[in-house]
Subunit: 131 residues, 4 copies
């Protein structure tokens, strides 16, 4: 079951082509992943207490349709692959059920104090596998 | 021979992780592609007179190293594939010769007035093939 | 009575100083003004049907406290002055009741098709005066 | 004599109104102030070595004209007031000599390690007064 995050498109998200600027989908997707992690960690330890952060290792985007000012978008996020040091998210951006863009984002886990890679906590991997 | 575009990293490009925010590389790459097109069209017709615009159809990014505040980056751009309706750019982000990130960006050509796809002008394809 | 709009702070809003980048408050404030206008126009004519847009003429910001990653901010917006061709908003950014920043933003009304100034619709001025 | 910094307008700087998004002028102005500080510190100690950073305390902007995609803008920056703990910059954004926007930005000096306010180094104040 995908995690769903809603985004309203404002002027700051658009460009002179009259559409959502293509890089802004990465921001939207980052916000959705953060809320997904917040939702699974509510009754667990806090991510910031764990000193864990996720850095993007690679990503790909397919742009199918343009999105426009005032559009209400939904980001559907699932975890495609959960490994000891990385998570790969599949994130679909929808408008009224129509696919606007699809992102695949692979993030690695690091310790925010040492900036070194760190294994992902077990409860995150378990929760990720249920998504 | 790659087209080279230089970018200085400012506060507005960074995030609380102390590094360049991952979506900003797409902005840098867009700026580099624009300057590449400007450089090949100088003695030709102006892109805006041609009513031509390029929209991003798909892209992928590999992040190899972090970039930091005040870094001076170079974007090396070549055209990997030039077709009648699309161009695929390979864009390498370097710092002192070290590879920070690599992007592949496929853009389609549209008429800015009709927003319909339009064949890419011959002189652009010719110039693209020399890159 | 102020219009209230909530904003969560994500990585894309922060800078390498570890705080919300100072220009991002203008984005937050724009989003809040848009939602204020949406809330007063729901049972009225749609702004986009009226071909009305608002452009920022001037603004000032006082930064009192820093905001940080994951903060949940509230933007409290009131209309300080409603005139035939301009609205001046007072926008306070709060975190748990503490004042983070205060903005004063004067916008002018233009017709989106002609880009010429246009008087603000009466029902907007009336609603604005009640805020 | 003003410090001059040139900015090219790209898609990422514009919005669906077809103009430069109003908050982007704050980014441009930040970049200009950074280059001004870089220019006066070249043969002096490096700002990052001094562990000095500047945070924006307040600002105001007057928007006179719109700027558009591909515009080449100049930011003319002078120091209006140099005090022990703050600098106030006057920054004019010009296009072919025509005034697009004017900013007044007051920044305070902090120690990046302690995040506490710190007196501005004498050589910065001296250089600032010559601007």
């Amino acid at each position: 079951m995908a995690h769903i995050f809603r985004v309203r498109v404002y002027y700051s998200d658009t460009d002179a082509g009259g559409i959502v600027y293509h890089a802004r989908y990465l921001d939207f997707a980052e916000h959705a992943r953060t809320e997904l992690l917040r939702s699974i960690s509510e009754d667990k330890e806090d991510l910031s207490l764990l000193k864990l952060a996720f850095v993007v290792k690679s990503l790909s985007v397919d742009y199918n349709q343009s999105a426009f000012l005032d559009d209400l978008l939904e980001i559907h996020t699932t975890v495609e692959q959960a490994k000891r040091f990385s998570l790969t998210f599949l994130q679909r951006v929808l408008r009224n059920g129509e696919e606007i863009a699809t992102l695949r984002v692979k993030v690695g886990s690091i310790n925010v104090e040492t900036a070194k890679i760190e294994p992902i906590a077990g409860w995150i991997l378990e929760a990720a596998e249920r998504l």
